[in-house]
Amino acid sequence: MRSTHLPLVVTILTFLAAFVLCSGQYPAMMSTRVVANLLTDNAFLGIVAVGMTFVILSGGIDLSVGSVIAFTGVFLAVILRDTSIHPLAAFALVLAMTIAFGAAMGAIIHYLDMPAFIVTLAGMFLARGLAYVLSTDSVPITHEFYDVLQSLYWKAPGGGRFRLTGMVMLATFIIGMVVAHRTRFGQNVYALGGGAQTARLMGVPLASTTIGIYALSGGLAGLAGIVFSLYTSAGYSLATVGVELDAIAAVVIGGTLLSGGSGFVAGTFFGILIMGLIQTYIVFDGTLSSWWTKIVIGGLLFAFILLQKGLTWATTARRKPLIDFAAP
């Protein structure tokens, strides 16, 4: 095993241990229902988290994804309500728009040399603002094609429904893994995260890589928006507020360093599952008040970070005796 794989292994072990523990307490959790729910309910989050993984690997951040999901949903709902365009064409259109939106943010980040945090924060305001302008109402989507897509599921013994959207998420993760680890673009992403100036001197095309990364993130946010619109059959401009933070948390729990350059797409998958598990556990428990819910989520987040930190320390402290400062 390569030393760099350690955080990934830690994440996977943490998930498995937590799952076993939870099932011990609530046997109903060991059902196909819960497993299927984990996939379906987190599908949109998983898809944006793949994009977020790329962004964070490159040392950036994308705060706009939650708003882009909402915008995508509203746009689809409105266009399917007001025109007779086929949903597939609408999907293509909206994906093109979100990719362009992401690419534009990437271009601003690169050419104007501005921090990603701020550019994507402005993007977050803009995307949600545009969603409001399209419609403040929640708009149902009633196209029959949506019913067709929603009826595509496999009902496992035990009642779990493995839906199309869950499969889309799995596919996104697999493609994301291949792109990250087996393509030149992926290697450039890691290079950028290792140090933009060094990467530049080594001949990494900064402009196209940066733009590509944010276009990818934007595109995946668009895809997540489509999945979300399938999930709720509606578009709503207030939806998915704060999803960017969930995605970032999932990526970090998955073992990717926010400072960039180190991490795995697969880790994010387990990060998503861990977050989903936390929520499922809280619902199964069912006794937490509104405020304790928040405190417990924060506490568990902290516990996971600490666990990861501890394991990483325990294993690397011996390897690198020199002072090592975590860059924020």
């Binding site: 050419y111 409001y132 924060g298």
Partner: protein, 354 residues
């Protein structure tokens, strides 16, 4: 200290110009914008509102500037506001005086800062994640204190902090200007400012040069917690109640935005609190334009986004560099320009040290 004043003025000149532009926008949508009256024992006017309503963001961005100077970020300030407000409210509800309530709230804020600081400086968790924990849990803690209700109070002393006036000037204005001045002097008249910048630029070097970076980092988060707590008390006092769920909601983003509009780099290092405070005023002026314009609320975010994008683009290193080149060529090439004032535009064309 006229030299220092001049340097500060030079540093904040772009921010002042942007502020002037946004205020002008206000005047365009509402010609009476600058009218200030003395009414009902207090200054009354839109400009006063900008200063008054900007108080929470301004207070937050004092601490946030320092945290960002150390290469950190604090996402929890909004939640800390809620906790502090709830603490103050519950203390007066239990019969304490306003001084106790204020001190209690500030102590809780400092405690939150300590928590963040320890996570960042001792456990070495990346600041954005470390403070995310309190951002998520903090609102829960605040609600735990208020038990989910809006805890209203009638204590005049506490209310005075948010809604009162001193010689006609709303108290929050005095508080943020006072604290801003105090902390600016505190870091610039001592060595603290330089040391904070040093650990933000290169912590390893700074530590080896003998700076107690760990303690300094914790202190910076303490200050941020303090500022957030003060903002929380003001916000609660303003509405005579602690609203755990909504107090300071998403205000951390405004504070970060203010710091960046103030021309401070998110990568740490050189900072200017005064510039951040002007940044906070700029954001509040943008909000004021939106309110005064009378457009339907669904346009609020788009307008805000567009104005902010415009401001950020004007301030971006590339555009600054282009402007610098333009100016330099206008002044005819080859003129010796002092390296320090030109250092910012250089960032683009040169290999930076990280």
């Amino acid at each position: 200290m006229t030299h220092g004043l001049q340097a500060t003025l030079r540093r904040v000149a772009p921010q002042l110009m942007i502020l002037a532009a946004v205020l002008l926008l206000n005047v365009i949508v509402f010609p009476d914008f600058f009218r200030i009256e003395f009414q009902n024992g207090r200054l009354f006017g839109n400009l006063v509102d900008v200063f008054n309503r900007g108080a929470p963001t301004a207070l937050l961005c004092i601490g946030m500037t320092l945290v960002i100077a150390t290469r950190g970020i604090d996402l929890s300030v909004g939640a800390v506001m809620a906790i502090a407000g709830a603490t103050a409210a519950s203390l007066v509800a239990d019969g304490s005086g306003w001084v106790t309530a204020l001190l209690g709230a500030l102590a809780v804020g400092v405690l939150c800062g300590l928590w963040n600081g320890v996570l960042v400086a001792v456990l070495r968790i990346q600041p954005i994640v470390a403070t995310l924990v309190l951002m998520v849990a903090g609102r829960g803690i605040a609600q735990l204190i208020t038990e989910g209700t809006i805890l209203t109070f009638v204590n005049p002393g506490l209310i005075h902090l948010g809604a009162g006036t001193v010689l006609g000037v709303p108290t929050p204005i005095l508080i943020w200007i006072g604290l801003g001045a105090l902390i600016t002097l505190g870091v610039r008249r001592t060595a603290l400012g330089m040391l904070v910048e040093a650990i933000g630029i290169n912590e390893s070097s700074s530590r080896l040069a003998g700076i107690n970076s760990r303690v300094l980092l914790i202190c910076v988060y303490l200050v941020t917690g303090f500022c957030a707590a003060l903002a929380g008390v003001i916000v609660a006092a303003d509405i005579k109640g602690a609203d755990a769920n909504n107090a300071g909601l998403w205000l951390e983003l405004d504070a970060i935005l203010a710091v960046v509009i103030g021309g401070n780099s998110l990568l740490g290092g050189r900072f200017s609190i005064v510039a951040s405070l002007i940044g906070a005023l700029i954001i509040q002026s943008v909000n004021s334009v939106i309110l005064l314009s009378g457009l339907p609320p669904e346009f609020n975010l788009v307008i805000k986004a567009l104005i902010i994008i415009a401001i950020l683009v004007i301030q971006s290193p590339t555009v600054k560099h282009a402007l610098y080149i333009l100016r330099a060529s206008a002044e005819s090439a080859g003129v010796d320009t002092p390296a320090a004032s030109a250092s910012a535009p250089l960032a683009k064309s040169t290999e930076t040290a990280r």
